[in-house]
């Protein structure tokens, strides 16, 4: 019986882990196949493409690293790097902290809490087109929501989306509103894993609300914290729709993220070699950020 024979090897391997068993690969093979064909191959193909001057329809000319040197001299591209980082700084900590705050406040079994959880999750359900449309209505100085409020206090309206300094923060606010559901859910799940007894011990230890939060809750969910940060960094690195739909990257390129750059270069300018090169840089940056975060978290976790 071949299945039975596989069994023995299986149990053997589960503990000793020395020798290999190729038939086990069958379980991961379907995914790996798709992964290789749809991620790894295109990724390398993209890397290869990034070494070419290439047109969407035209032929390709091998140019080596020229696209990369061109990128490094491209003020717009460098600006997008800065914008992307700035955006991450604006959103990721806020998402983590607000998500945590909401999770803390809503981690209870009352009906009100369930309803509110639904409320805070509901925005995640909207597509980016609608989200940006709504928030343009909020931000527009001419009869927009915020402008109307400011007017009531006798203040002049603020042009969020056409002010170089405010455009990206405005997109960040929109993004936080849109994305807050996921971190909240992740934190809620983590909070429910914290043993109740720890809180009781803390209560007996005279720890107040803040002390308990700081000394018991936060340390207990720090893995989730790291996970949320990683996921959000990866997601927010890929900012695209909000910027395209709210500001088109303006004013003065102040809100153009790297992905929008890639999109424009590739699909509007058909300069796909250049776009591919920018994509490689994005990939490298995300990878570095994720790895850095991962290692930092792991070292802390093991200390």
């Amino acid at each position: 019986m071949s299945v039975a024979a596989a069994h023995v090897t299986d149990s053997r391997e589960t503990r000793s882990g020395a020798r290999g068993d190729w038939s086990s690969l069958l379980y991961v093979a379907p995914f790996l196949l798709i992964y290789i064909v749809l991620v790894v191959y295109p990724l390398f193909s993209g890397m290869w493409l990034s070494l070419h001057k290439a047109d969407f329809f035209g032929e390709r000319v091998f140019v080596g690293l020229e696209n990369f040197t061109r990128l490094l001299a491209d003020k717009v591209f460098l600006g997008t790097l800065w914008n992307t980082f700035y955006f991450i700084v604006l959103t990721v900590p806020a998402l983590a902290i607000i998500g945590l705050g909401l999770a803390l406040a809503l981690n209870r079994t009352t009906r009100a809490a369930a309803v509110l959880r639904g409320v805070f999750f509901s925005s995640s359900v909207l597509s980016v087109t609608i989200v940006t449309l709504l928030w343009r209505v909020v931000f527009i100085p001419d009869g927009g929501f915020i402008a109307t409020v400011l007017e009531m206090f006798g203040k002049p309206p603020v042009a969020f989306l056409s002010d170089e300094d405010l455009a990206l923060p405005a997109i960040a606010i929109t993004t936080i509103w849109w994305c807050i559901g996921l971190p909240m859910m992740l934190f809620l799940a983590a909070l429910q894993q914290v043993p109740k007894e720890l809180y009781e011990a803390a209560a007996l230890d005279n720890a107040g609300r803040w002390k308990t939060l700081w000394s018991v809750t936060l340390p207990s969910i720090r893995r989730t914290f790291a996970l949320v940060i990683i996921i959000e960094i990866v997601l927010q690195f890929q900012l695209f729709g909000q910027a395209q739909l709210m500001t088109l990257g303006g004013p003065n390129n102040a809100s153009r993220p790297i992905v929008l750059f890639i999109y424009e270069v590739g699909f509007n300018r058909w300069d796909i070699g250049y776009a591919a090169a920018a994509a490689q840089i994005l990939f490298g940056l995300i990878l570095m950020a994720a790895l850095a975060q991962y290692f930092v978290a792991r070292r802390k976790g093991e200390a």
Binding site: E200, L204, D205, P219
Partner: protein, 363 residues
């Protein structure tokens, strides 16, 4: 002075009452154990004392002061949890000093207390480690250390030993007893292990079904159980029970066992309520195997448990009742042997068969 007074306390979770009008007083420096089967409300009562559960009715006083509206931290009690509940991200030292820092005790004083407690518990070398890096027994000591440094007047333990393995459990049990002699505080200890209760307590509070069945010293509880429940719950092996008929004339009653054999006792007929139905309770140690025909009754050995220093013999009477008898460690009795049983009449108890109250005992 009484350290702790519990006065007519009740507690309901949703529809179900889990503590029903319980009163209890614990003296200063007393060691009281709550003993009872799972779910009887021991933890709930303890947690109400600690302030982790609200009190629905009644009063709780600690050191004479009413505390049932105070938050847990302000009751001056320290608690040790079953699963330790150590803060996993803090070192042992931090775990122990956390509560002191929260009440702004001077760092020098904190250091002194932690050092003293660590020394007492022999965990000085672990102070820099985190809970994940020490063994179960060590964790339990840290949990105790965390309680000690607060220098409370009342320690609460909720089954602190049930997560330890047998050997460690015995050792830690001893340490807790010694700790009690060293610190100037009352202790309340929850367990459902009667050996723990017997070895540790000044007084045992036996609980069952939301109420207290008996309060007494270990010896009182063991040798004069107030109810059949207590008799059955305390002592290993479980006390033998058998329905009996009262037949003998005055002054002492004679019992007819279910297999028909007769057992003379020294129970005064007058001490028994009239017309009640009774059951016999007798511990294994008061029943000795002997040659067939010699004792009060006889049967076949169904099963033999050798504990080393003594041997438990499970004897099946002719009517199907099983009686456990105790023999010496070196007993030669084997399964299927026919044996007689001799009852030590001083060890015989009679219980009200319906309500379970203790009715009378031999000697």
């Amino acid at each position: 002075m009484a350290e702790l007074e519990i006065i007519n306390v009740s507690k309901t979770f949703g529809q179900s009452k889990v503590i029903d009008n319980v009163s209890l007083t614990v003296g200063a420096k007393e060691f009281v154990v709550f003993l009872g089967p799972s779910g009887c409300g021991k933890s709930t009562l303890l947690r109400m004392i600690a302030g982790l559960e609200t009190v629905d009715e009644g009063e709780i006083r600690i050191g004479g002061k009413r505390v049932d509206a105070l938050p847990p931290g302000e009751r001056g009690v320290a608690m040790v949890f079953q699963h330790y509940a150590l803060y996993p991200h803090m070192t042992v030292r931090e775990n122990m000093s956390f509560g002191l820092r929260n009440v702004k005790i001077a760092p020098a004083e904190i250091d002194r207390r932690v050092a003293a407690a660590a020394k007492m518990l022999e965990i000085e070398h672990l102070l820099q480690r985190k809970p994940a890096q020490i063994s179960g027994g060590q964790r339990q000591r840290v949990a105790i250390g965390r309680a000690i440094v607060k220098e409370p007047h009342l320690f609460l333990f909720d089954e602190p030993l049930s997560n330890l393995d047998a050997a460690l459990r015995v050792r830690t049990r001893l340490e807790i007893a010694q700790l009690h002699q060293r610190v100037d505080a009352a202790m309340i200890f929850v367990t459902h292990d009667q050996i723990e209760a017997m070895t540790l307590a000044h007084r045992i509070v036996v609980m069952n079904n939301q109420r207290i069945e008996q309060i007494g010293t270990p010896m009182e509880v063991y040798s004069r159980p107030a109810t059949a429940f207590v008799a059955g719950f305390v002592g290993t092996p479980c006390m033998n029970f058998a329905p009996v008929e009262i037949t003998g004339a005055s002054p002492f009653v004679t019992l007819r066992l279910p297999d028909g054999s007769m057992l003379e006792t020294r129970v005064d007929r007058k001490a028994l309520p009239e017309g009640g139905r009774f059951k016999l309770g007798v511990r294994a140690e008061s029943v000795r195997p002997c040659a067939t025909g010699e004792g009060n009754c006889s049967g076949t050995v169904k099963f033999v448990e050798r504990l080393g220093d003594r041997t438990l013999v499970y004897v099946l009477l002719s009517d199907g009742t099983t009686i456990v008898a105790e023999d010496a460690g070196m007993s030669r009795i084997a399964i299927a042997d026919a044996v007689g049983l001799r009852f030590d009449s001083a060890g015989v108890h009679l219980f009200d068969d319906v309500r379970g109250y203790h009715a009378a005992e031999g000697a």
